[in-house]
Amino acid sequence: MTDAREAIHRDLVLMLLADARLPVAGHTQSATLEPALRAGLGAGDVPGYVTTRLRTVTRVEAATAVVALHHLAAGLDVGPVEAAWAARTPSPAMRATSRSQARAFLRLAGRLWPETAPVLAVSAYRAPCRAVALAAAAASLDLEPAALARLVGYDDVQTACSAALKLLPLDPADVTGWVVGALPTVDRLAGEVAHLTRPEEIPACGAPQIEAWAETHAHTTRRLFSA
């Protein structure tokens, strides 16, 4: 598994990267849903919560990934992309979560595609965020920007919805219905950010309540999910 570009269909690459069975500790994440439910959100609020994330924090993450992909594909330094993401992510808990997920992901990518320039370039950084780490894999495997943005959006929806299933008494088919219901929003998000190339173009949509919940959760000892 050294030549990453050798005849792997992009659909298969996307399935692989979106698969919850990937050993990157995705099961430890609730997309901040756990503190949101603790703060009083109910089952009926989950689809709205997912949409709010797609319009705010996940939009920032998807756009960061797309811009990082452009930089890596062009051989440019991703430092300014990381800095743009960090300035748009005021919550230290959310930055720490993203960077620890990136660490796990890069460990895996380093094993699977060790010789590719983007993975090497991003692994050389002190603590890249998850969007930049995903972009390294995408650049190594020739994924399109829109596909990468869809991956980030889809993963966030699935993370929140599958966490809901563990935190609330729900019918799994209903929850899958929420995921399906969010897909047009994911697709729209991807269409809106896929063309971005410059760090300063990354949207900066804040979500003060989600950011506050993320901080509260990071400081509690009573939790099922790490974030």
């Binding site: 800095a83 005021p90 230290p92 979500a207 506050a212």
Partner: protein, 255 residues
């Protein structure tokens, strides 16, 4: 200290913008800092007039006093502040601002701040109330010189008591003078988005302190504290009423 309050040239009156300019600069000869305060622009637009309260060798204290009813549809206020190297500016406001029902139109409130090497700005903003039907585009852009210090308090209130929220699109962009971003945030709050972005709250109270890490007080309001990636701290509280949401202890510690 030299103080001038001239009206800007009439040419500016045509673009419908009310301008407020504040410049503080140290005296190259080593005397008192020089301050220039100016207002000008559209006669239809209300004015935020900077009134000098106090001065000393390297610092000035100013009150931003509104003249005329504000904030109404079509108002466009542009506040441009430059604090020169080694000088210190403090801004206070005599009262909060209410943005009224704009019936489909909007108002604009732009603030630009440049802080020179070792300069500081402390701005105790009073509550900004977006009444039902208001639509305000607020932007704050800051460029920080080396060792500059900014302490900025802002309180956004969505709707008067018992009222629907107005619409506020707030953009905050802080960079250092090399162009590295420190804090970039856009909040688009309206009756539909606000419940999702703010939970069941209607007041967003923030205190931003960009300063040397040693100057950021350690134990103050840890529950609402967001340490930024490049240094500096944002404290943000969400609440249902202004008095309970304002963090007076935090502001006293950072101002």
């Amino acid at each position: 200290m030299t103080t001038l309050t001239p009206e800007l040239p009439a040419g500016d009156a045509l673009d419908g913008v009310s301008r407020t300019t504040i410049r503080l600069q140290s005296d190259p000869a080593g005397g008192r800092a020089r301050i220039r305060l100016a207002t000008g622009g559209s006669p239809q637009c209300p004015v935020l007039r900077p009134m000098l309260l106090e001065t000393s060798v390297d610092r000035a204290r100013i009150s931003l006093v509104p003249e005329g009813a504000m904030l109404l549809a079509g108002d466009h206020l542009d506040i441009d502040i430059a604090v020169g190297a080694g000088t210190h500016l403090e801004i206070v406001e005599p009262a909060g601002t209410v943005a009224y029902d704009m019936r489909g139109r909007h108002a604009t409130w732009d603030v630009r701040i440049r802080l020179g090497d070792g300069a500081s700005l402390t701005w105790a903003g009073e509550p900004f109330v977006a009444s039902a039907g208001s639509d305000v585009r607020r932007s704050t852009s800051v460029v920080l010189g080396p060792d500059a210090r900014l302490a900025l308090r802002e309180t956004m209130v969505l709707g008067r008591y018992g009222e629907w929220p107005g619409r506020v699109r707030q953009s905050t962009r802080v960079h250092d003078d090399a162009g590295t971003p420190v804090l970039v945030e856009e909040l688009s709050l309206d009756p539909v988005s606000a419940p999702h972005l703010l939970g069941r709250q209607r007041v967003v109270s923030t205190i931003l302190l960009l300063a040397d890490p040693d100057e950021v007080p350690a134990g103050v309001s840890p529950e609402s504290r967001f340490d930024l990636d490049t240094g500096g701290t944002l404290w943000r509280r969400l609440g249902t009423d202004v008095h309970a949401t304002l963090d007076h202890a935090c502001w006293a510690a950072v101002r």
